[in-house]
Amino acid sequence: MSEDRQEPILEMKNVEKHFGGVRAIDEFDLKVMPRSIYGLIGPNGAGKTTIFNTITGIYTADNGQIFFQGKDITRIRPHEAAELGIARTFQNIRLFGNLSVKMNVIIACNMHAKYGIVDALLRLPRYRQVSKETEERAMQFLEIVGLTDKADDLASSLPYGHQRKLEIARAMATEPKLLLLDEPAAGMNADESLELVEFVKRLHDTYPITILMIEHHMDVVTNLCGQCTVLDFGKTLAQGTVEEVKHNDAVIAAYLGGEL
């Protein structure tokens, strides 16, 4: 088991993706170790979300390979990625807006609901049992993000910050091994992002998950991530611990510059 721990949970080798003539990501390499929190940093249009989309199968890489727990997932389809244990949130929140908050999480929990179509159509005992359990599990996940009292509200009626949290709860409800967070602190002020840092830490401590996150707020990255990669125009500028990256000349020149 201890040897397994040395294997990266997610590995990307030489991955490329272009749209027309634009190289969204170019010769991208990445190794994320199990149980770590890894950051992806870079200005808008650097190709960070494209990386998430190639990992989760929304896009297929034009070149290179992606491994998850040693398994080649380069040509995976989105729902298969979820079944393997890769969950994600979206930069531009994608909730099931006309459904209740609880239903958003239940749908994610359903991935593990084991009953067949006949059970469902005839409401057999197995169906009742499983759907009751599913509902309870969904409520647990809502409790983690503190949305229990909003369970029956429409997801689209939630304020922005709560919507982000609901997305995280929904992603966690698929019981992932790898959680991809796409700018979880976007649009948050300093206090809120501090709260988010605490929340992500608690999540990481409670569940056996690895986190890969895209983030602009440097304080969030500094507080959470052990390792990070800086991207610019699809190319890797620097890779290493946050401290190393902060002092990398290319990074300072290209992006972080005045901020640090």
Binding site: F19, T49, N53, I58, Y59, F90
Partner: protein
């Protein structure tokens, strides 16, 4: 051989009528990403407007045609002003535009039935009885007239889209409505103008179709054919719609001529499904990948 040529010309002629309607579908789809199902009924109402004008004494047929075309353009504009614009501003999903269009289509078809009855109405046939005899190839003059007018109009349409400032604006809105708005294009006005243009084309097509096959409340179903044509060509592409329409008209005539007129629709629909399987976005359509 002579019969084949004869049928090719008839096919292209009916195809050119489809093309007039299909390019309207394509124009609207390129701007709003929805299929304006009421378009066939606009065509039908244009034909009825023209028919009504011919009933008034002392109006020359040419003026009746203009009235028909204008009427269709006006109805098309009304659809946009009364229904589509509001639905867009509601922020409803695109599907609702299509449902509204379907509702309008049902409304118009039955309205026509109530007003004019289901009987066929005849448009004056200017030189209908004549057939030209070109070295043993017989071609109806109505066919020739339709083909000629349609070709001129379609070429003019392509020129408008590609060469004028208005056409540039249309293309800009088609690319990205939001960006175009920021750059100072008055998109609601562009959309309204496009609806009028599409309506006028449909009105013209309605008059031509009416001259060939008379005017009746369900003649809007020709819009369905045109819609198929625009799907074959690729939704939102005007040149694609024109090509698709001519292809469809051609195939229909050849099938009715050589196989059986009853199987005409079966074969054109099968062709449609086949083309979609090979090219899911039509012959000239662009595959879009949704950005996540």
């Amino acid at each position: 051989m002579k019969i084949l040529i004869q049928q090719m010309i008839t096919g292209i002629s009916i195809g050119s009528v489809y093309a007039l309607i299909a390019s309207g579908y394509a124009l609207v789809y390129s701007l709003l990403d929805f299929s304006n199902w009421a378009h066939g009924e606009v065509c039908m109402l244009g034909a009825y407007c023209c028919f009504m004008a011919t009933m008034v004494p002392k109006i020359p047929f040419a003026l009746s045609c203009v009235i028909g075309i204008g009427g269709a353009a006006l109805i098309s504009l009304l659809n946009e002003k009364i229904a589509y614009r509001r639905i867009r501003n509601n922020g409803s999903p695109n599907m609702f535009l299509m449902i509204a269009a379907m509702g309008l289509s049902t409304t118009y078809q039955n309205l026509a039935n109530v007003i004019w009855g289901s009987k066929f109405k005849q448009l004056p046939k200017i030189f209908s009885v004549m057939t030209l005899n070109l070295n043993g190839i017989f071609i109806g003059t109505t066919d020739m007239l339709c083909l000629g007018v349609a070709l001129v109009v379609l070429i003019a349409l392509l020129l408008i889209i590609n060469k004028t400032k208005f056409g540039l604006h249309v293309q800009a809105v088609a690319c990205s409505g939001r960006t175009a708005r920021i750059l100072g294009v008055r998109i609601d006005r562009i959309i309204a103008l496009v609806f009028m243009l599409a309506g006028a084309l449909a009105g013209l097509a309605g008059i031509m179709y009416g001259m060939k096959y008379n005017v009746y409340p369900t003649m809007g179903n020709v819009g369905l054919k045109a819609f198929i044509a625009s799907v074959i060509g690729g939704l939102g592409s005007v040149p694609g719609a024109i090509m698709g329409a001519i292809l469809l008209g051609f195939i229909e005539t050849v099938v009715s001529g050589y196989i059986s007129s009853g199987l005409r629709d079966l074969i054109s629909f099968s062709l449609l499904i086949l083309i979609l399987l090979v090219r899911p976005s039509g012959l000239f359509g662009v595959d879009v990948q949704e950005k996540a």
